[in-house]
Symmetry: C2
Subunit: 143 residues, 2 copies
Amino acid sequence: MLSGTAEYALRAVVCLARQPDGQSARANDLAEATGVPRNYLGKILHDLVRAGILESARGKKGGFKLAVRPEDLTLLQVVSLFDNIGVGAERRCLMGRPECGGADPCPVHHRWKDASEAISSFFEETTVGDVLSDERREGKPVA
Amino acid sequence: MLSGTAEYALRAVVCLARQPDGQSARANDLAEATGVPRNYLGKILHDLVRAGILESARGKKGGFKLAVRPEDLTLLQVVSLFDNIGVGAERRCLMGRPECGGADPCPVHHRWKDASEAISSFFEETTVGDVLSDERREGKPVA
DNA sequence: CAAGAATACGATATTAACATGAAGTTATCG
DNA sequence: CGATAACTTCATGTTAATATCGTATTCTTG
């Protein structure tokens, strides 16, 4: 459903959202907490910074932190940087017919549309804040 | 959502289901009709044969045809040969938590489960016959 | 039974995703 | 100001999916 990269990004963002007072966490600690390879996560984190989802600081007290409030950050914003999901997705006909799905969608395409929109809606409507409320019981900050 | 290979298989199967009287079609014609590379499609067709979904015949009057009735063939049966979808799918926690989803699923996982099951259900409950009824207006046999 | 037509199958090439390693840059702190 | 810690960036390696090619095998037909 999600690429490994997108899932990595999601885990890292949720880890950061768990930090108390919006404290920043270092890439190394995030890598350990999420189980994502250090250098690979570095790239992903940087992508998230360039997208305005995270902020980074260099130097001794550096690290990453969320640039927005968890409740204002949808999973789609994170995931769509790496995967083709959601509004911009190609959502093309399952059978490869280019013109299908416009007016008068046939029964199968209608059903397919419903199913694939369930996925899109999930990512669009779920925020990182929503995830946090789940994790509160066992969630521990990274650093 | 689907790998290219799974989608190729789906298109080929639907093409074959369109054949009148269960006539067989040759790999070359299927390749042209579906837009799938000839040799690559050959492998996919062979996989479908080994799975019992198609029958093949060699020689001059050879080709491929459905081994089951379109109404008895779900999209899942075709797709699951190539992608990890449906009942056997790993359907693991989005956040990578190994133990989640058992008793007392948290709100997000509940929502995620609903969405991903919508996809599974679509593939499980839709048959190739269902697809055919859509295509009837414009569908033309391969050979 | 020989020729032709089709699938079967293994070897190889290409591409994108995933991952690693090392050197470069910037900020903090003593 | 120098040392250290952290992000940044580029180059490279690995793996799996995708695609191609050539040959072997099998069936039909004349």
